[in-house]
C-alpha cells in the first residue's frame, strides 16, 4: 500500500520489515521485555477499540504507531491519535490505515496523524488540496497548531 507522508507518496519502509518490527497491542503486552531487548525499531498496530492508555508512556518507545479505520465513519482513532500525541507525547510516525479517504485527511492531520496508507493514486495532490481547504480552525487539537492573537481558542 502506498504511503502518503510529508506531502508525498513514498514506499513504505515498514512494509517488508526493513524499518523494524510491527506488533499488535496483545503481542506488546505479552512480550514487552523481549521486544525491548531486541533493540530494533518497533511499530504498533492499533484497532479503534484498543485503549491507547494501556500503552501509556510506552508509546514513546515506538517509531511507528498505526491506527486502523475499519470504516471511515468510525471516529475512535481521532481520539486515540490525540491522546497519543498530547498526553503521552508520542513523536514518531502516526499512521492512518484502513478506509482513508481524501475528505477526512484534514481532520486526521489535525488530530496528529502524519502518515496515511491511501490507495488513491492522486493522494499527494489530494492531500495538499484537502488540508488547505479550511485555513481557520476553532479549537486546539493534536497537530499543536498555535493560537492566533485574536482568541485563545481560535487558530487561523
Amino acid at each position: 500500500m502506498p504511503l502518503l507522508k510529508n506531502g508525498a507518496v513514498t514506499a513504505d519502509p515498514w512494509h517488508d520489515g526493513t524499518a523494524g518490527l510491527i506488533v499488535t497491542v496483545d503481542e506488546w503486552r505479552a512480550q514487552r521485555d523481549t521486544l525491548l531487548a531486541r533493540n530494533v525499531p518497533l511499530g504498533l498496530r492499533l484497532a479503534p477499540s484498543d485503549d491507547v492508555e494501556t500503552i501509556g508512556d510506552d508509546a514513546r518507545r515506538f517509531a511507528l504507531i498505526a491506527i486502523d479505520f475499519p470504516a471511515f465513519t468510525d471516529g475512535r482513532p481521532y481520539s486515540g491519535a490525540r491522546v497519543l500525541r498530547e498526553r503521552y507525547g508520542y513523536d514518531g510516525e502516526l499512521r492512518a490505515t484502513g478506509q482513508v479517504l481524501r475528505d477526512q485527511l484534514s481532520f486526521m492531520q489535525r488530530c496528529g496523524f502524519d502518515a496515511f496508507e491511501i490507495a488513491n493514486p492522486n493522494a499527494a495532490q489530494d492531500f495538499a488540496a484537502a488540508v488547505g481547504e479550511i485555513s481557520v480552525v476553532y479549537q486546539p487539537a493534536g497537530d499543536r497548531q498555535r493560537s492566533s492573537a485574536a482568541s485563545a481558542h481560535r487558530v487561523a
Binding site: D51, F72, T73, D74, G75, R76, Y78, S79, G80, R82, E86, R87, L101, D103, Q104, S106, F107, M108, R110, C111, E133, I134, S135, V136, V137, Y138, Q139, P140, A141, G142, S147, S148, A150, S151, A152, H153, R154, A156
Partner: protein, 553 residues
C-alpha cells in the same frame, strides 16, 4: 447592529472556505469520483438530507437568533431555490424541503453573504447549540445564555476529533431557573446558575427522545466557567470512544449513560477531564468577555412602565388585550415587552412561514425590535425587544400577515414534525392531525380557559415532534397499511421534566382528534381552580383520563 455575535474575518473565511469545499465535494459526487456512501456523511455535515420528495436543507440558526437581514436572506432563498416557504424546527433551525443538490453550493454561497451556513446541522457531529429564546430579554435570567452557546458553537465547529461520533449530538444552554430550552431531553444540557455569589454550570447528560426517551442526569452541579470547554471535551471524548457503534438505535450518549449508570459515567468523564483540564481549553475571562461584548443589550430607551398607550388600547380592544395576555411577556427592561410570533394559525401547518411572511417579519423587527428575531424550539418566532408603546402597531402588523394568532402556549400551539407528508422516516402523517386538532380546539375563549397545554405530534418513533414531552403527546404509527395514533399524557420539557405515559390502544386519525377533545373535557371537569393541565394530570394520574377515553359506552 443586532445584539448578537458578529462574524469577524476569520469566521467569514471559514464559512467561505466551507462553501468552496462543499462545492468541490458536490462536483466530485456528480462526476462519480465520490460514491453515495462516501458522500452522504459529507452532505449531512452540510445539512443536506435526501428526503421523501427531494433534498431537504437545514440551515443553522445559532441559538435561534436572526437579524432582519438574515431573515430576508432566508426569504430570498425560499423564493430562489425552494417553493417560497420554509419550516422552523424544534432545534431553532429552518428547513427548506425542495432543494436540488446541484444548486446547494450556490445556496450556501448566498447564505455566506449574510454570515449564515448549514454546517453540522445533520450528521454524527455536534449539532446546532440551542439556548433560551428569550435570552437577553427575560427578567429571570442570570445572564445571556447565548454567550455560552456561542462559545460552545465555536469550539464544536469542524472539531476534528468529534466529526464522526457514534451518532448525532445535541447541546442546549440556559441561564435561568425556568428551562425554556428543554435541557433535560438533550445529550448535554448546560445551566448557568449562582451559588454563594459565584457562578457555575450545572451539567446534565444523557437526555433524549426517540425510541428510548430518557431524562438527562446531572453529573456536575457546579462547574466553574473556566472549565466549561475542557469538561465538555472530556464528555465528548468518553462518548466518542465508548459509545456504541454496532447498532444505530443504541448509539446515543443516553444509552451509554444508562448502561454505565450516571455515577460511573461521571467518573469516566472526571478521569479524562483530570488529564486535560489544565490544557489549552481553559476559558480565560478575557475570552468570555470578548464574546459577551457581542451580546451587550441594544440601546434601550429610558421608558416609563406601564405604557399608557398600551394600557388604553387594551381597555378598548379586547382582541388586542387577548393577544397581549397570551403572546407577550415581561421584559427585563422597563417599558419593553417580549413578543411571541405564532406560526400556528388555526388549521395551518405548524412552524411554516412563507417568504412573504419572513420579509414582513424582517421589516417589523427592523422597525420595532432592534432588528432582531428569535426562533423557538416550539416552532414559533419571537421579537425580543419591543417598546410597550409600539405593541398595538406590532400586533396589527403581525396580524395583517397571519402572524398574530393569540395561542402561544395554548392548545392550538401544536408542535408537529413534518411527518409522512415530507419525511422518509415517517410511519404516519402528523400535519393533518395538527390541523384537525387546531381546528377542533380553535375557540379562543375555550383555549384561554384550558390554559397552558402543550400538544406535540411525531409522525414516527424518532420523536422529532417531541411527543414524549408533550402534556398531550401523539405518536403516529402504521398498522396494516393504516395510520394509527398513540396517545400519551403527562410529558413536560421543563425543569421538572417528565416523559408521557401511554394510556391505551391507539386511535384512527378521526379518533385521535376526538380523544384529545375528550381529554380537555375531562381536565376541565376534574381540575381545581387555577390548576394547570400538567399539574392536574400529575395529581390525578392516568386513571380518569383512561376511563374517559376507553370506558365502555
Amino acid at each position: 447592529m443586532v445584539a448578537t455575535y458578529h462574524y469577524d474575518d476569520a469566521d467569514r473565511t471559514l464559512v467561505r472556505e466551507r462553501v468552496a469545499q462543499f462545492r468541490g465535494q458536490v462536483d466530485r459526487r456528480l462526476s462519480g469520483a465520490l460514491t453515495e456512501e462516501e458522500f452522504r456523511p459529507l452532505r449531512l455535515m452540510n445539512g443536506l438530507y435526501l428526503q421523501l420528495h427531494a433534498y431537504m436543507l437545514r440551515v443553522a440558526i445559532p441559538y435561534g437568533t436572526l437579524s432582519a437581514d438574515q431573515m430576508r436572506a432566508l426569504a430570498a432563498i425560499g423564493r430562489r431555490y425552494d417553493r417560497d416557504y420554509g419550516h422552523f424546527t424544534t432545534r431553532q433551525n429552518i428547513q427548506f424541503n425542495w432543494i436540488k443538490l446541484e444548486e446547494t453550493p450556490d445556496l450556501l454561497h448566498d447564505l455566506a453573504q449574510v454570515d449564515m451556513h448549514a454546517i453540522q446541522t445533520s450528521g454524527n457531529v455536534i449539532r446546532n447549540v440551542t439556548a433560551d429564546h428569550y435570552a437577553g430579554a427575560a427578567a429571570d435570567e442570570l445572564d445571556d445564555s447565548r454567550i455560552y452557546a456561542e462559545i460552545i458553537r465555536q469550539w464544536s465547529t469542524l472539531h476534528p476529533e468529534f466529526s464522526f461520533l457514534p451518532r448525532k449530538f445535541k447541546i442546549a444552554v440556559t441561564a435561568s431557573a425556568t428551562d425554556r430550552a428543554a435541557l433535560k431531553v438533550h445529550d448535554i444540557g448546560v445551566r448557568l446558575h449562582e451559588r454563594d455569589g459565584a457562578r457555575g454550570f450545572e451539567v446534565m447528560v444523557g437526555g433524549g427522545q426517540g425510541r428510548t426517551p430518557m431524562i438527562a442526569k446531572t453529573i456536575r452541579d457546579f462547574l466553574p466557567e473556566h472549565d466549561l470547554l475542557s469538561y465538555l471535551e472530556a464528555i465528548l471524548r468518553v462518548y466518542n470512544r465508548q459509545g456504541r457503534r454496532d447498532n444505530k438505535y443504541k448509539a446515543r450518549i443516553k444509552i451509554l449513560v444508562h448502561d454505565l449508570g450516571a455515577a460511573a459515567f461521571a467518573a469516566k468523564v472526571d478521569a479524562e477531564w483530570a488529564e486535560i483540564k489544565d490544557g489549552p481549553l481553559g476559558l480565560p475571562e478575557a475570552e468570555v468577555a470578548r464574546i459577551r461584548h457581542h451580546f451587550q443589550p441594544p440601546a434601550f430607551r429610558d421608558l416609563d412602565a406601564p405604557n399608557p398607550l398600551r394600557v388604553a388600547k387594551a381597555r378598548t380592544d379586547p382582541a388586542f388585550a387577548r393577544w397581549l395576555r397570551i403572546n407577550t411577556h415581561a421584559h427585563k427592561q422597563p417599558g419593553y415587552a417580549i413578543v411571541d410570533v405564532s406560526l400556528k394559525p388555526v388549521g395551518g401547518i405548524p412552524g411554516d412561514a412563507t417568504a412573504d411572511q419572513m420579509d414582513a417579519l424582517a421589516d417589523i423587527a427592523a422597525q420595532y425590535s432592534f432588528d432582531e428575531i428569535r426562533v423557538t424550539h416550539t416552532q414559533n418566532l419571537v421579537l425580543p425587544h419591543v417598546e410597550e408603546g409600539a405593541l398595538h402597531a406590532v400586533w396589527q402588523a403581525l396580524g395583517s400577515h397571519g402572524l398574530a394568532t393569540p395561542n402561544v402556549g395554548l392548545a392550538s400551539d401544536i408542535i408537529s414534525c413534518p411527518g409522512m407528508d415530507y419525511c422518509s422516516l415517517a410511519t404516519a402523517r402528523s400535519i393533518p392531525i395538527a390541523q384537525a386538532i387546531s381546528t377542533r380546539l380553535a375557540d379562543l375563549d375555550a383555549q384561554e380557559d384550558l390554559g397552558v397545554l402543550g400538544i406535540k405530534i411525531s409522525g414516527c418513533i424518532n420523536a422529532c415532534g417531541h411527543h414524549h414531552v408533550g402534556h398531550i403527546g401523539i405518536l403516529g404509527l402504521e398498522k396494516n397499511g393504516q395510520e394509527y395514533y398513540q396517545l400519551t399524557l403527562g410529558g413536560d420539557p421543563g425543569a421538572d421534566a417528565s416523559l408521557g405515559e401511554v394510556l391505551g390502544k391507539s386511535f384512527s386519525a378521526d379518533g385521535i382528534v376526538d380523544a384529545v377533545e375528550k381529554i380537555t373535557v375531562a381536565y376541565r371537569a376534574l381540575r381545581t381552580p387555577g390548576e394547570a393541565f400538567i399539574d392536574a394530570y400529575r395529581r390525578l394520574g392516568p386513571a380518569p383520563f383512561k376511563e374517559t377515553l376507553y370506558a365502555a359506552a
